[in-house]
Structure formats: C-alpha cells, structure tokens
C-alpha cells in the first residue's frame, strides 16, 4: 500500500477543487534528491522559539508537554542543523490565526508557533501545551484530532516535508479524513507520537517522542 496521501481524497472536501487533474510530470530518478533544498537561513531562529510556553508574560493554560525526536533521512542517518517549524492551536482548540472562528477562548499567553534547528544528532525539542481538538466544517460534526503541524527542510528538495504530529490513543483519528488520507495504516502510525516516560519530567511536563524520516539519502556527508 501507498504511504503518502493522494492529492484527491474526496472525504477531505477541500481536495476536490485543488487536486491536480493532469498526470504529474515525472522527472528522472533521484532528481529531487539531487536538487539542493531551499537555503532557509533567512528564517530567524532564536533559542526561546523552542519553548512555546515562555513567549508571553505568564504561562499558557493546558497540559505542559515536551515533544522531541530526531530528524532522519531514509537511511536512518541524522539530519543535522536543519530547520524544524511547528504551529498549533491552544489547549482549548483555538488558533491565534484571525481566520479561526471557532468559539473557544484565545489564551493571551499562547501564540502556538515555534522553531528550532536540529542538533548534531538530528535532534529537535519543543516545550508547549497539548493542543485541543476543534470542530471544522468538512462534514457534519467533524472534529480534528489533537495535532501539531510540523515543517522540516532537510538537505534536498526531496526532503522538504510539511506534516502533522498526532497524539497516541486519540479516538478522533479514526474519524478524521486528513489522518485517514494516508492509505497504509503503518503510514498513519508514523504520524503518531509515543508517550515517553523517559522524556516526561516529574512534577512538570508529559513527554512525547516522535522521529521524523525525510525522503532521500545521504543527508549528512561525513565531515572532514
């Protein structure tokens, strides 16, 4: 089975007028792996960008969480010093984005956007609060499972990835067309973080681990 979602997935209604109808043009093998990825260096990354609970005067409401893992290439080699961006709604299920009209409260102490660079072992780490579920108008009584949006660059055009991380044991996943658009159940499993008692910090925050595997090989040539 296929691990990537199709462009046209009618259960997710927004795909109907946005999925291309023409066959995508196939470039020679490895084309996107050989093409260097975007030079993301203009995107500012400050140390405080990795802690979404300390961007305002006080702490946001919600379950404090630590989300960490490694960014790897398809050979399981670490992708070092690459940019990871995250964004999410608050603990009540509301995005700070003005386009979000869900009548749940905004949290004056939470924006929900973060950035960090992976370290020398390909590791990223964010502190945040667990995002809430929220309704959307895709179909009657549609609710998105809790998720954090991730954007990762990597070394090649092939490795550029925008995806969503989900939380273990969320019953809404079974009803969510965006999550279910990944055909292979093993692929859907790759989108779900694991609760990790090793990452959990006593009296402070729940820990989740989630590794991200980018398309492509040879992410980290041997340093000389």
């Amino acid at each position: 089975m296929e691990f990537e979602p199709p462009y046209l997935f009618p259960d997710y209604r927004s795909t109907l007028l946005r999925a291309p109808q023409r066959t995508l043009v196939r470039l020679p093998d490895d084309w996107f792996e050989m093409a260097p990825g975007p030079a993301f260096g203009r995107i500012p990354v400050r140390p405080e960008d990795a802690d979404l609970t300390r961007q305002h005067a006080a702490e946001p409401l919600g379950e404090r969480i630590i989300v960490t893992g490694r960014v790897l290439d398809s050979d399981a080699q670490p992708v070092r010093h690459t940019l990871v961006e995250v964004w999410q709604c608050n603990a009540a299920g509301r995005y700070v984005d003005p386009a979000d009209q869900h009548p749940a409260p905004l949290d004056p102490n939470f924006t929900g956007a973060g950035r960090c660079l992976t370290d020398g072992e390909g590791r990223y780490r964010f502190v945040s609060v667990k995002p809430g579920a929220y309704p959307w108008k895709n179909h009657h009584n549609a609710w998105r499972p809790a998720h954090i949006h991730f954007s990762v660059f990597g070394p090649a055009l092939a490795s550029r990835l925008v995806t969503q991380m989900y939380f273990p044991g969320d019953p809404l996943q079974a009803h969510d067309p965006i999550f279910q658009s990944v055909p292979d159940p093993r692929g859907r499993e790759r989108l779900v973080a694991a609760f990790d008692p090793e990452i959990t910090e006593p009296e402070w925050a729940l820990g989740y681990s989630w590794d991200i595997v980018l398309r492509g090989h040879g992410a980290t040539p041997v340093e000389t």
Partner: protein, 160 residues
C-alpha cells in the same frame, strides 16, 4: 512497569513520514519578516493561486528557491502572492502548500528573458506542450506567474 529503553540509532525506523496538509491556519507562524524579499533589489514576481473553479486560493503558501535565494509568501484574500529574487537566475524551484493539498506540489518558474537557454532545458523538454504554464510573463516592471491547481491551463506539477 519498566520504561521502554531508548532505541539505538536507526532501529524502529520504517520509512519516510507521510505528508499532511499545511491547513488553513499557518498565517501566524510560517511567514517571517521580509519572507518574500530574497534580494534587496532584483526581479519582482507577482501571481495568483487559483483552484479548479477559477476561484482564488487564499490559504496557500508558496516557497521559491534557487541557490542562495529563498523566499516564502502566503497568499492573501485574492489568492495573490509576490516575491523579489536576484536578477539573472534561469528558473526558480517553486513549492505550493495549501489547505486541501495533502502533499506539496513542486513546480518551476522560468524567467522569460532566458528563453534561448530554456530550449535545451531538460525539464522543459520533458514537459512538452504545457511548458507555457511554467514561463513567467513580463508585464513591464514585474513578472507574472499564476499557479492553476486544477483544470483549464493547469500548471505543470512534478511527481515528488
């Protein structure tokens, strides 16, 4: 209950993480200061993202890149985006993200002042008779590059 031991490097990894849509609510997070401005002075490119009904797509995110040049711009209520890149580039790698796109759509924008060089371009040769969708139009002062996701005049996108 004993804690699960940490996996050694490479263990438990089964393949690439699937893509998911950028969704509609990235506008507070993904744009960055001067994101569309890859070069102080250069070529300004303007365009619009349109869906299969010809309607503007107000929640798309466009990234363009070539060598050290990188720009990012979200579309506005009219589906419009713009960026400024250095002069003299042959083409830009363009990536489209949007609500309703479960995966990104890669394409290219070619500069119209370098058509002679484009005659031998391996990508344009593969594209064939739909190549015009990849060539920006010179509108005097700015280049125009619209992205049609579906239907008449659909932009050529590449399989990634």
């Amino acid at each position: 209950m004993s804690p699960t031991p940490a996996l050694p490097a490479g263990e438990g990894v089964k393949g690439p993480t699937p893509s998911q849509t950028v969704g509609p609510f990235f506008g507070f997070a993904m744009p960055f200061e001067d994101g569309p401005q890859a070069a102080g002075e250069g070529v300004r490119v303007e365009g619009q993202v349109l869906d299969g009904a010809g309607e503007p797509v107000p929640d798309a995110l466009i990234e363009v890149a070539h060598d050290s040049q990188f720009a990012r711009c979200g579309t506005d209520a009219e589906g419009a985006f713009h960026f400024v890149v250095a002069k003299g580039l042959p083409f830009l790698e363009v990536t489209v993200f949007a609500r309703g796109l479960l995966r990104q759509l890669p394409t290219r924008m070619y500069f119209p002042d370098q058509l002679a060089a484009h005659a031998q371009d391996p990508v344009l040769r593969l594209v064939g008779d739909r190549r015009d969708t990849l060539i920006a139009r010179d509108e005097g002062g700015a280049l125009r590059f619209d992205i049609r996701l579906q239907g008449a005049g659909e932009t050529v996108f590449f399989e990634i």
